[in-house]
């Protein structure tokens, strides 16, 4: 016998395991268990846990195996879709970052050149013949820069809203 175990524990455990303790045990083994603390503890505890196991396994009302099977299938499918979608999301983020970088770079370039961009925007209505779209009752529209900015801003806003709803729907 070691500090934490007795050499005969295995015999006791086997007998308890097949429900034959103490009736089928040899008198010599029973006498040993009475005098051995480790074996005695083992017999008491193992019997109690096996009785509890028998009663507990009869208790639950189990859901059907099919329901769990389909839940697992659904989760597997969602995981697969998420995994497939991950590179697409990465590409979208990369594209957005590239566009933003280019915009910032272009702006910086224009700043260094003395804001030629503003003059270009100012000339844009005339170049695109916006005045042809403008009602004639609004006389005096000479393709002024300050008329164009709200139009562009509105277009950008509406475009943003459309993209947002499109992505939400998707």
């Amino acid at each position: 016998m070691t500090k934490f175990a007795c050499a005969r524990e295995k015999e006791v455990e086997e007998l308890v395991g097949c429900g034959q303790w103490p009736l089928a045990a040899a008198a010599e083994l029973r006498a040993h268990v009475e005098g051995c603390r480790a074996c005695s503890d083992l017999a008491v505890v193992a019997q109690a846990f096996q009785a509890a196991h028998s009663s507990a396994t009869a208790e639950p009302t189990l859901p059907s195996a099919g329901a769990l099977w389909w839940r697992a299938q659904l989760r597997r499918r969602n995981a697969a879709i998420e995994r497939i979608g991950r590179p697409l999301l990465g590409a979208q983020i990369f594209a957005l970052a590239t566009v933003l970088l280019m915009a910032v770079g272009g702006l910086a370039w224009q700043v260094r050149r003395g804001f030629g961009l503003l003059a270009w925007i100012e000339a844009l209505p005339r170049a695109l013949h916006f005045d042809a779209l403008w009602p004639t009752s609004l006389g005096g529209f000479e393709g002024n820069f300050w008329y164009v900015v709200p139009v562009l801003a509105t277009l950008a806003l509406v475009g943003g809203v459309v993209v947002y709803f499109a992505s939400e729907k998707h």
Binding site: D41, A48, Q50, W69, A72, R76, A80
Partner: protein, 188 residues
């Protein structure tokens, strides 16, 4: 061609190394029939909470199906299932702002124990309520499920070498708590 085969390794994250294809519906139904009740009993008696045992048992099976299970047969698959359940139980306890299973106060489980009420007639309920959750795990796996020390180490994630000592201490404490009840029962 099934979509699972078109996208390999999708769910391999939690799977053991020697793993095979997921079970088909019929194979799972048989495995579930044989394993669900012992798993529920383990979760109910260790957690002391029947509703939690219901939830964790279902989640264990779903995760088991999502992962590739061991190919060493049903015994290994069942051990793997118990390991998933043990991890879920540990996660549940951690969510309750505790860092490890050892630090969970026993009173928390003793007061919330619905399972203890049904076991009280069989004397083990009150004893389980006084044991630490880890001791309950070890004792249940060893004496209700009949797992070896090596298997218990695999399921609980504890060091194999420490199982013998931990089990010895838990058993001694459980026996000390059980004996007065047994004597009372014997006196009747």
């Amino acid at each position: 061609m099934r979509w699972e085969s078109a996208i390999p390794q999708v769910l391999a994250g939690d799977a053991p190394q020697a793993a095979c294809e997921p079970m088909d519906n019929d194979a799972f139904a048989g495995f579930y029939e044989r394993s669900a009740r012992p798993l529920w009993a383990y979760l109910a008696r260790v957690s002391g909470d029947l509703a939690l045992a219901d939830d964790l048992m279902q989640e264990s099976f779903v995760r088991f199906l999502c992962a590739a299970h061991p190919e060493d047969g049903e015994v290994a698959a069942r051990r793997y299932l118990f390991k998933i359940a043990t991890n879920l139980l540990r996660d549940h306890w951690r969510k309750r702002r505790t860092t490890s299973i050892e630090e969970v106060p026993e009173e928390r489980f003793a007061t919330a124990s619905d399972a203890g009420q049904s076991d009280s007639q069989m004397m083990l309920g009150p004893v389980l309520a006084q044991l630490r959750p880890r001791d309950r795990q070890l004792l249940w796996l060893a004496y209700a499920e009949g797992y070896s020390h090596q298997e218990i180490a695999e399921v609980t994630g504890l060091m194999s070498a420490s199982i013998r000592l931990l089990l010895f201490r838990a058993r001694r404490k459980a026996a000390r708590l059980l004996r007065p009840t047994l004597e009372r029962e014997g006196a009747r």
